[in-house]
């Protein structure tokens, strides 16, 4: 088992210090009153949303204090400032995921909207009744429902790559699952339930041999590891700002230039047009063709600031540290009698879904909350998967680079106490 000193050594080797970066996050010093006792916040719900550093919060305030104006339609100084900052954020997003050009980045409200955009603008144009979209059984509802809606309106069919008990995709079945009717493969890069990191590069290679485009849901991967969309080779990549130190309500869709040019617009309105007549219109250049209406300008700029922040720490270092912290946590948690982990894939990130005895996840989360530990309890927007696993829900602890081994120790202690309190559950 890696000891405290092993992990402290790993920390010494990093290009950042997880203890000192915590000072950048005001909310991490939050203290809760629990009766007579005071307990510090131990925030382990990072797969749901991450906390925001001062640098991001200051950017939002600075924008509204000094730069606020609408973008792309003003001559005055503020309009120029806002536009420059907004477009500069797009460049940062493009660089962050290794996109060939900022033209391939569309700002969205988040991963969900990005996938809906592909379903709406690409799917409606290029899919017809009887075509198949291949998903996997470990998708988040946001990569299931947009396709179900499309299925209801134009009659496409859905197929699923099965998952094994340990939480990996059964890729051996791809040749049977993929026939000439399959017109898109849409899979998650990293599971928000199992933590599994899927071999999307292999999936893309398999798909492209058959001329099938691939969408990658990067909501859980972009925040935690270096990502290069050109290396992955995917056609679409969707991710969210709020899961990587940015504000809520901002995210991005990467799509190849070819698809963006060929796809129809998503929403209609201002900004996405070139010329408008009473009965028709022509569209703006990409990516603006997909950004109708006044966008979340402050959000996009703050998203850029979050990317600057992560780049300073280094995505390689973040990944490396989270891997070490996850190993540290897994070994201690597996040591608790009756502790069951859902997701044992060899390639995994810092998401640990679990059950303790038969204690209901809600009781687990409530008990941990009394000790200041924030974990998620529920179906994690993966109800069909929960049904397959035969459980109503799980508790889930998920890490980010600002979590420490001491916080893992508090989690472990609290779970041990929980077992004393509830027994093995009902």
């Amino acid at each position: 088992m890696p000891t405290q000193s092993d992990i402290q050594q790993a920390i010494q080797a990093l290009s950042f210090n997880p203890y000192t970066v915590r000072e950048d996050f005001p909310i991490l010093s939050e203290i809760f009153q629990r009766g007579e006792k005071q307990v510090p916040l131990v925030y382990l719900d990072n797969a749901a949303t991450t906390q925001k550093p001062r640098q991001v919060l200051d950017t939002i305030l600075h924008y509204y204090h000094h730069e606020n104006a609408n973008v792309h339609r003003g001559i005055h100084t503020l309009a120029e400032r806002a536009t420059e900052k907004y477009e500069n954020a797009r460049k940062k997003v493009a660089e962050f995921i290794g996109a060939p050009s900022e033209k391939t980045i569309v700002f969205t409200r988040g991963t969900t909207e990005a996938i809906n955009l592909v379903a709406g603008s690409w799917g409606r144009k290029f899919l017809k009744a009887g075509d198949v979209v291949l998903l996997s059984e470990m998708e988040h509802h946001s990569n299931i429902i947009p396709w179900q809606l499309l299925s209801q309106s134009i009659g496409i069919e859905l197929r699923y790559i099965p998952v094994t008990e340990e939480g990996t995709l059964v890729l051996d079945q791809l040749p049977q699952l993929v026939d000439e009717r399959v017109k898109l493969i849409s899979v998650t890069h990293m599971s928000n339930v199992f933590g599994t990191i899927n071999p999307v590069k292999e999936i893309v290679a398999f798909a492209h041999e058959r001329d099938i485009p691939v969408l990658v849901d990067g909501a859980q991967s972009a925040p935690h590891m270096p990502v290069n969309v050109q290396e992955l080779g995917c056609d679409f990549y969707a991710f969210s700002g709020h899961k990587m130190c940015g504000p809520t309500g901002i995210g991005a869709l990467y799509a190849t230039e070819r698809w963006l040019e060929e796809m129809d617009p998503y929403h209609g309105g201002g900004e996405m047009i070139r010329s408008v007549w009473w009965d028709r219109a022509t569209w703006n250049d990409i990516p603006h063709k997909f950004e109708a209406g006044t966008p979340n300008i402050a959000g996009a700029i703050a998203f850029g600031a979050a990317i600057d922040y992560l780049q300073r720490l280094g995505m390689d270092a973040i990944h490396q540290y989270e891997q070490a912290l996850t190993r540290y946590a897994l070994e201690r948690l597996e040591d608790i009698p009756g502790f069951r982990i859902f997701g044992q894939a060899p390639e995994r990130g810092g998401v640990i879904s679990f059950y303790v005895g038969n204690i209901h996840p809600h009781d687990v989360a409530q008990f941990l909350d009394a000790d200041g530990v924030a974990v998620r309890a529920g179906h994690h927007c993966a109800q069909p998967l929960m049904r397959k696993l035969g459980i109503p829900a799980t508790a889930r602890a998920s890490f980010y680079f600002y979590n420490t081994p001491e916080e893992v120790d508090i989690l472990v202690q609290s779970i041990r106490k929980l077992k004393e309190f509830f027994g093995d559950g009902f």
Partner: protein
């Protein structure tokens, strides 16, 4: 501390040893309710006699401590009551849990007093009311004979 208000001894007792757990082994009214957001499920069997008195009531299913305890207390409370009395109690509990009534009314119903603590945890109210919604549905079904 608030946590102890939620998980009172009465709740934990009912959770560890739920009363009236199982199914009635005769023809009776059966309803199933679930709460998909938590995955709680309850199956209720209800036997109402010709005088509209609840002769027997049992529940089975899975859920958190609050939902199991609430179901256990519910069966204890309404057994032997008439359907009208049971409906009235269910209505009182559900409105009180929603924070719309005076919490002290729960003092009059024995172990139900333990559910008072749930009111300060809005996220858990649904756990506590699941069994009571199931009861309402079962009473309705028993009455209409559907």
């Amino acid at each position: 501390m608030a946590f102890d208000d939620l998980y009172q001894e009465i709740i934990l007792d009912h959770y560890r040893n739920p009363h009236n757990f199982g199914e009635i082994q005769r023809s009776c009214t059966i309803v199933e309710e679930d709460n998909p957001t938590c995955g709680d499920q309850i199956k209720l069997s209800l036997w109402v006699d010709e005088n509209k008195t609840i002769q027997d009531i049992k529940f089975s299913g899975q859920g958190c401590a609050i939902s199991i305890a609430s179901a256990s207390i519910m069966t204890e409370t309404v057994k032997g009551k008439t359907t009208n009395e049971a409906r009235e109690i269910a209505d009182t509990i559900i409105t009180t849990m929603r924070g719309e009534g005076e919490p002290d009314v729960l003092d009059e119903y024995g172990d139900l007093i333990a559910l008072k603590g749930v009111i300060q945890f809005p996220a858990r109210v649904k756990c506590a009311t699941l069994a009571w919604h199931a009861l309402e549905e079962a009473l309705q079904k028993a009455e209409t004979g559907e």
